[in-house]
Symmetry: C2
Subunit: 370 residues, 2 copies
């Protein structure tokens, strides 16, 4: 039911195209996954997501577990039916969210006790309990429960969290039952290359159909992230998809693909959209700026999305200034479309054997400044 085929391997970089088969359809990789934290990609109707070319979306186990509750989602027939999304879905394990609740959690070898950000109520996640939650949600791809350390954590703390992540990975495998759901392992190790390599070896030694790289979206500088990806690259099984978690700026997508990454997710396009910023071929455009007040050109002259075909910068600026929700809707839609077209372009360049040149040209372009 899950199979990953590499189609084209770039001869000069780690980039490759492939197809990931899932119960809800095939995914052409490299792929960007929009984030629908609470069972909705904020501000975007599912039919508009499809039109923009979203192949798969991510949803957050921590949030859905707390509200509306995974049992309700199960009762609805699973997350696909609940949110009306019939293409593939990936759920994280809640690990990242729980470990972000700095003051409100307590970790031990068995699991994590934490307080809900909604009402302060006490909850507990273990590898086994999160597997049960993810199975109830019923995504095509579930993620292991891992311990994610923050940027700047010392070597010893990072090593301990990594080792725990490996033990939990095995417990997740043992607990996971659904055959129509793929379970991906997560490589940790913070910003320590030797830990990353050790973690890649450990996770690749286990029976996971996909390998994720966690903990690289939590504040590290981009050069350190690229360094970690370089260190990891030789140790990631090339026959399995590689998923870089929580990363989605245009520069990181291009650099990540060049280092063998097949899957990305990030809240960036929708968060930027709600904050009045657009991703464009000329880089980030902050539409609130007064310079756009009388600018009747589209957000991005090189874009052919619904927004760029029909609305001007002056209008979008007006919506932002007037605090109209349509601003967030249109900017989010454009930003998602922009990233999907970038991934289309990336796949085309890889297939054409020109990815190395494309990377070079992209690095020199304004779109790279993110």
């Amino acid at each position: 039911m899950f199979e990953f085929e590499v189609k084209t391997q770039c001869p000069h970089t780690g980039a490759r195209t492939g197809v990931l088969h899932t119960p809800h359809g095939d995914i052409n990789t490299p792929v960007f996954m929009p984030v629908g934290t609470q069972a909705t990609v904020k501000g975007v109707l599912p039919r508009d997501l499809k039109e923009a070319g979203s192949q798969i979306i991510l949803s957050n186990t921590y949030h859905l577990y707390l509200r509306p509750g995974h049992e309700l989602v199960r009762e609805a027939g699973g997350l696909h039916k609940f949110m009306n999304w019939d293409r593939p879905i990936l759920t994280d394990s809640g690990g990242f969210q729980v470990f972000s609740l700095e003051a409100m959690r307590k970790v031990d070898d068995d699991g994590v006790t934490f307080r809900s950000h909604l009402d302060g109520a006490k909850h507990r996640f273990t590898p086994e309990s999160t597997m049960a939650v993810e199975e109830a949600l019923g995504a095509d791809i579930a993620m292991c429960f891992d311990e994610c350390t923050m940027a700047g954590a010392d070597y010893k703390t990072s090593a301990r969290a990594m080792e725990r992540t490996h033990r939990w990975a095995q417990r997740c495998i043992d607990a996971h039952k659904r055959e129509d759901q793929a379970l991906f392992g997560i490589v940790q190790g913070n910003m320590y290359a030797d830990l990353r390599v050790e973690s890649a070896k450990a996770i690749c030694s286990m029976d996971f159909p996909g390998i994720a790289i966690g903990g690289l979206s939590v504040g590290e500088e981009k050069p350190i992230m690229y360094e970690m990806l370089d260190a990891l690259y030789p140790h990631l099984d090339p026959n399995r998809p590689h998923y870089l978690m929580g990363v989605g700026s245009p520069d990181c997508l291009v650099e990540g693909v060049g280092r063998g990454v097949d899957m990305f997710d990030c809240v960036l396009p929708t968060r930027l959209g709600r904050n009045g910023a657009a991703m464009t071929s000329q880089g980030r455009l902050t539409i609130r700026n007064a310079v756009y007040a009388h600018d009747f050109s589209p957000l991005d002259p090189q874009c052919d999305c619904y927004v760029c075909r029909n609305f001007t910068r002056a209008y979008l600026r007006h919506l932002i200034k007037a605090e109209e929700m349509l601003a967030a809707q249109l900017l989010s839609l454009h930003n998602i479309y922009f990233l999907h077209r970038l991934m289309d372009r990336i796949r085309d360049e890889i297939e054409a054997g020109t990815y190395k040149d494309f990377m070079k040209a992209f690095r020199a372009s304004q779109a790279y400044s993110f």
Copy 2:
């Protein structure tokens, strides 16, 4: 360029169907107009409005004059281009908004001085200045600048405002220049039937292609509104369209049509949508209520809109509880669709000669309780 044809007159009630020809297309009446106060129907993409069947939308002169400014809209090529709406638009005159700023305005025979609700800056509207603003916005239909009294204003105050409204109506006619824009007069007179009749006679004696009834959406009880419409009916020129301003609940639409009203506008469908309420064939549905937590049926089983075809009450309730903007988007879209389908039904019943029976049945239905 503007022509109103009555197609079918109900033999038993004041209801009639017709077609209003405008530069941006024909409008089948009776019609409900969604409100796009700040050049956007809140939360709804223009293409989705079209799909829902919106024939014409209303936008507010007061708001657009203050932000982004009518000169910017003119520079954009007019409101249609600015907001990407190529069907007809109607703009009010700002009178209603200005007279709602109780503490912040001062009226004299020449016009009104008021303070902006945005920054407190002083502005002045006169019949001549609002005509200039509405011409810059460039809607298909512009409304006269009138003095609107609040519900409960005494007879003398209401009579004085009505007389001023008539003088201003003539000044609007004299000032209005655009031939591709129809100017509608507004009948005032508050809840005093004799004033309403006097006002109808005065406004109908002037050269307006359409007659609006103002000041009946500002707090009167519905029976008083119906009483006023009954009193007005014999005095409204049947050859011109009749527009009841600011009214849009299902019961008022059905009752208004029965009293000869051809056009309605209201923020109700979008405001209810943002507040988590749906208009349904069973009446108002407050989706936040716990009773819908496990309800996997559509908002309205009798509705075939995108929302009812694809999402459940349980999901919509989750979105509301999670404060997701998609809730407002979906509920607004459904509510607008609901009102358009109600108007379709109303037109069908009139053409079939069965409107009187329909009114009777509708009054007895749950949909009437609004």
